[in-house]
Amino acid sequence: MRTNSLATITPLHESLALLEPLVDAVWTEIAAQGQGREHTRVLVTSPSAKAGTSLITAATGAALARFLRSQVLVVETNLRCPGIAGFTGIDGLPGLSDLLLGHADLDEVIREVPGVPGLRVLPAGTSRAAISGEYATPKAQALFANLATMGRYVLFDTPTLLEHREGRSLFPLIDHVLLVLRARDTSKADTGAVVQLIQRSHVPLLGTVLNRHVPELGFLER
């Protein structure tokens, strides 16, 4: 299998700097769509699990913070499988799950990413299964509304909308959706279902990111 030279880079959060050029088009598009807005909220999701939404979200947030010198907040809402702390090199606990349960304060859970000025991350916190309707409670909605105003760009890293429906509660708060598809893994049927879901919610679909792609033709493939 073809691998990138990034495979040898450790620790992981240092690889974000190298991933940033790969998501150039993503943060450029977000920046373009955010022209004239005070806050731009983007929900990053995927039709299937393990598509790499956390990595893409972290890399995009880092690029926005680094190249636009903007305040960027990344909110990890995937309570079952937290991962963004590992990518950004911050402490993952406490996080959103703890905040929602009242075990931590908002200031306590939002952390700045070392080496990336302007990028702050709200990790998922203690890993647990999400409670049905947890994000739809007035307290959670108020929390998310507050979080949506805490950065020039606010990126919500959410699990797949098909299997974990709590992410849909965030639709009223966001401006765009970014879909991350994992090559050779995400099925066409799931992708179609998610696209229909997004279209029905009338949230503009910013675009897609094809992640973990293995080129068949090398340089001949776009």
């Binding site: 299998m1 691998t3 495979a7 991962g83 995400t186 503009p204």
Partner: protein
């Protein structure tokens, strides 16, 4: 919160895609699939499988090529000299082509000769002579003593194995039955090629076999078969026998037809129907002329008789059919005489007395006669008086005689006319019978004439064929060897690159089809083109696989 913008479609996005000439198709009807994904990426994805199938196809082609026996071609030439024997065809024997033009038209040409040489009967005979097993047996090149080098020896060994595996070195294992014989004939027919050499009367004949010796052997046998078959077909002996048989048949037929014709002549009553017909017509015309003449004569005689009768009867028609009274005539005569006497006497004055007396006497006589005349009718119906008057009149007697004679002639004429009419009727009946008999008579005669012609022709042909049959007895054919069957040293085939190429190409096509089907049936997303084409979504970026970046870590 900023107002939410309108949903953005892919084309409203900042990111733009490059034009895809493969998938868009340059303005023509778009394909139901992305050709780049299906073929280009498919081939790249399944390249190992495609390569494997291609190699497999090439191997199959190689094995097929190796299993094809070697091909050696022996060549020979035959010369065809058209002669009188070849001009005698079935048509000429049957009398269909009598004239020179028809003979030339039906005479066999070079193509007819080639058809003749492709007669399966020749090949059946050759297959029997050589043995079907020998004809079908494929030579094992590994047993050949020829030095073919290392590669050639390996190839020959492979060929040998395949030939033995397929049992081609020992055909007809169950015996040389009809099926084996039939297969051998088919093989012979399929391996021989007969072509005319342009602008010559030569035939170029080739035979291909699995060994040079076998090619020469079979071709020699075939040529022998060709020559024998040619003699059989164009030889005069067979046709002579046939012609003699025809001669006998035609003779019998002619005799029978003659008998039938005579019987019919007898039945109909006319031996020379044309002469009889002409004679009858002439006689009938003569009778018509005679009748017409007799009728004219009769008419004239009848008028004469009528005239005579009128003369003899005088004014009988006006006088009521009465005769002139002879007494009255005598009295008129006496009166005239008396008047003459009176006139004479009155002219002589000197003789008055005598004369006077005489005068008086004459006057008395006159008065008496006139008195009697007044009392006597001029005409009388008394037959006696009439006969007396006729006797006394020679003219009447002559007229009566003439009348009687004319009447007799008239009766004779009537009899003649009746006789002539009778004969005419007889002639007309004869003519009618002739006309009734004539069609059948002519049919008989035409049949007889045809039979006679055929018989005459056969009679003339027999001596000619007798002469030609002598050539057959000497075994001389008009088809002769011009060049003997050659012993080939170099093989002409098989073209083993063909099955190899076909196998290679077939494997490649199969692999590409497999790759395309694999792409079309893929239910996962693999390429950005899939996202763009099937979901009409923008692909902002493609992030490559980074080993170790996500595996074993916390990955969302």
């Amino acid at each position: 919160m900023a107002p939410r913008p309108e949903p953005l479609g892919r084309h409203a996005s900042v990111a733009t895609r490059d034009a895809d000439p493969l998938s868009e198709g340059g303005g023509s009807t778009p394909l139901p699939f992305d050709s780049r994904v299906v073929f280009v990426y498919g081939i790249a994805r399944s390249r190992v499988m495609i390569l494997g199938l291609t190699v497999l196809g090439a191997l199959v082609g190689l094995v097929i090529g190796a299993s094809m026996p070697n091909v050696y071609t022996s060549e020979a030439k035959l010369r065809n000299q058209a002669s009188a024997r070849q001009m005698i065809t079935d048509e000429t024997v049957m009398g269909v082509a009598d004239d020179e033009w028809s003979r030339r038209r039906t005479a066999p040409g070079i193509l007819d000769l080639i058809d003749l040489l492709r007669d399966p009967a020749i090949y059946e005979r050759v297959a029997r002579e050589l043995g079907p097993r020998e004809v079908l047996r494929v030579e094992d090149p590994s047993r050949s003593p020829r030095n073919a080098g290392l590669a050639g020896s390996i190839m020959h060994q492979l060929q040998g194995v395949l030939i033995r595996f397929k049992g081609l070195d020992n055909p007809c294992a169950n015996g040389e039955g009809p099926l084996c014989q039939q297969t051998a004939v088919k093989t012979l027919l399929g391996s021989v090629e007969i072509l005319p050499v342009k602008d010559t009367n030569l035939l170029h004949i080739t035979y291909t076999a699995s060994s040079p010796q076998k090619a020469q052997l079979v071709l020699n046998a075939l040529i022998e078969g060709f020559l024998q078959h040619h003699i059989d077909v164009f030889g005069a002996s067979g046709k002579l026998a046939e012609l003699k048989e025809q001669f006998d048949n035609e003779h019998q037929k002619l005799t029978q037809l003659n008998n039938e014709y005579r019987a019919y002549q007898e039945e109909c009553g006319f031996w020379d129907i044309d002469g009889d017909y002409l004679d009858a017509v002439a006689a009938l015309r003569l009778r018509d002329a005679n009748i017409a003449q007799l009728e004219v004569d009769g008419k004239r005689l009848s008028q004469y008789v009528t005239t005579l009768e009128g003369q003899l009867n005088g004014d009988s028609s006006a006088l009521g059919g009465k005769a002139l009274n002879p007494y009255w005539e005598a009295l008129v005569k006496r009166r005239q005489e008396a008047l003459a006497v009176i006139a004479d006497l009155e002219s002589r004055p000197s003789l008055v007395t005598t004369a006077q007396r005489q005068l008086e006497a004459a006057r008395t006589e006159r008065s008496a006669v006139e008195g009697q005349l007044l009392e006597t009718p001029q005409f009388t119906s008394d037959p006696y008086a009439a006969a007396l008057a006729a006797q006394n009149n020679p003219v009447i007697a002559e007229a009566q005689l003439e009348l009687a004679k004319s009447k007799s002639n008239l009766a004779a004429l009537a009899d003649q006319v009746a006789e002539e009419r009778k004969q005419k009727l007889s002639l007309e009946q004869r003519l009618k019978k002739i006309r009734e008999c004539q069609p059948q008579h002519e049919l008989h005669r035409a049949t007889l004439d045809n039979a006679q012609k055929k018989f005459t022709r056969i009679s003339q042909q027999i001596p000619e064929l007798d002469t030609l049959a002598l050539l057959d007895q000497e075994g001389r054919s008009n088809l002769a060897r011009f060049r003997e069957a050659s012993l080939p040293f170099e093989k002409d085939g098989p073209n083993r690159t063909k099955p190899l190429g076909l196998g290679l190409f077939g494997g490649l096509v199969l692999g590409i089809c497999f790759a395309a089907l694999r792409q079309l049936s893929d239910r996962r997303i693999r390429y950005r083109e899939t996202i763009e084409r099937e979901f009409d979504l923008n692909v902002l970026c493609v992030v490559p696989e980074v080993a170790g970046l996500e595996d074993g870590r916390h990955v969302a």
